[in-house]
Amino acid sequence: MAGVTFEHVTKVYPGGTVAVEDLSLEVADGEFLILVGPSGCGKTTALRMVAGLEKISAGQVMVGDKVVNDVPPKDRDIAMVFQNYALYPHMSVERNLAFALRQRRMPRAEIDRRVGDVAEMLGMTELLKRRPGQLSGGQRQRVAMGRALVREPKAFLLDEPLSNLDAKLRVAMRAELGRLHNKLGITTVYVTHDQVEAMTLGDRIAVMSAGKLQQLGPPQEVYDHPANIFVAGFIGSPAMNLFKARASGGVVTAGELSLPASGVADGEVILGLRPEVLEPAGAGAQVALTMRVDVVEPLGDEVLVHGTVPGEAAESGAEEEDLGTLALVAEASRAPITVRLDPRTRPVPGDEIPLAVDALRVHLFDAISGAAMEIRAN
């Protein structure tokens, strides 16, 4: 096994599109790193550069302590699982698994042993004689994993491997992937745009946008302390509520919300509130803002309430197709907000709910650079 290192890696496509810009990142030996970001952020290109399927325009990619920029894919000793699995449709599962080993002219007995071991580990011994076309989506995914595992590579690259599965199967396979990594401890780089996969699977996550690395850290840390407004808007589902605000004399004001924020320079800022930091203001509690309910989504274990509050919305740049701020907001003076409430609360559209805010869990971002600002507790 070996770590994977990006050193100032840049990828420029013919035509001038910069897919990855100055990416520096170290994946430790045995680590599970998630590359996450919206479509077109360069995460798959970064992965393909490690695989050797894309040429590197500048910088270095290292596997272990060896620079692999000019090493052909087959000699990098890296296995990849493709988004659509890329199983050879004309070969049986057994031959799919054995293909890489046969290419390496491994002795027959060793091939049989490895294929048998992997098939048993992934519970697909009875599928060995079938062809990919005769398998279900989950079984194909397993075979794709098996094909990577059978090579016993130095590192695994997974390109959105669960995105073609239905929701239920995705949850099961996610857990299985986690178990597999815990068992084998192979260095893994995993590309996804799925929040939950990013949060649950990785030792660390690397958030990318527009070809650049935005933040690198353990999932909870990235969630709790987003480095900038993009990460704040991207990580977390539902996304963080963002409002245009103004800091003045140690107080931040956004619409009717007013919060103490000492140490923040006067000027325009962006205020971020995760859906779970807002809760209905009980009797006697201080009301921070009043929400007008538009849509209620009971999810069983929680209720998501979408509505508006007085104020002006801010954008993180992570919104895909402006889905977050569609026609719910008819009035310019009101900003959309999503709140995660206890399932016993069941507001109805049109209700006005007084909400309290946990001031210690508020995020502030510079309105121009988007960088997170530190708030000193009073």
Binding site: A51, G52, L53, P72, P73, K74, I78, A79, M80, F82, Q83, N84, A86, Y88, P89, H90, F99, A100, Q103, R104, R147, R151
Partner: protein
Amino acid sequence: MSYVPIDPGMLRGEIGMVTRPRRRWLPFSPWHLILMPIALIMLTPLWSMVATSLETLPQTRHFPPILWPGDFQWGNYPGTVRAADFGLWFWNTTVVTVSVVASNLLLCSLAGYAFARIRFLGRGVIYMVLLATLMVPLQVVLIPTFLVTKSLGLIDHLGALIVPNLANVFGIFMLTQFFRTLPLELEEAARMDGASRLGILFKIVLPLSMPALTTLAVVQFMWTWNDFLWPLVTLPFNEGAYTIQLGLMNFQGAHTVDWNYVMAGNVMSMMPMLLLFLAAQRWFIRGIATTGLKG
């Protein structure tokens, strides 16, 4: 929950329609009323050939043509074989056709893969120039090709029928188009698994291209087996190198033609092609449907 049987109409996208069985006034699709007469018209020459091959010589000269000879002259077939060197012609044609089909499958695959997948300087231009040559009729290139073949010393030799036809642009075009439809990820996966370019072509791409390869093989087989003009031009004196089509011409004497023998020869010459088509029909139709070659 009640069980609702799935109507085939739903699978065709007719979801939401009332699933009442359609009342049929014919036991088959009305289209057959148009298609069957057309099929009959298409089959008439074929039947006429078979019928003539089983007639006596006077019957072949009867007008209007006799389409049901009544007394079948099966002896026409061994008679035809005895009357000329059919065995040799068959052998010559088989050697030429098998060589040409095999070399076309190999060379067109290599060229088609290069055009479909390998980036090289001038790829687009070369491809366009190749395609443009498809528009040049055979008559225009007949003499230049003859001169080249002659300079290679192949005139009156079976090589004259093989060498100029080792690869053809139609095959390159067809396979290029087909290879482009295969998912690139399969080849990338094979690259990561350690396969070379040729390994990818032979172990991944070609096995997945059976419909296109079969189509090319059948079409090329048909062209070569039936070719008359080029053998006529390049085999002027060597009767020992005659192909079946050239040999059949021999039956047509200067004053009389034994049509029953000529047609028996034609039926026999058609058999290999017919058998090949029947065997490869499934792949052949898929190949035409997936490469966009349907006219």
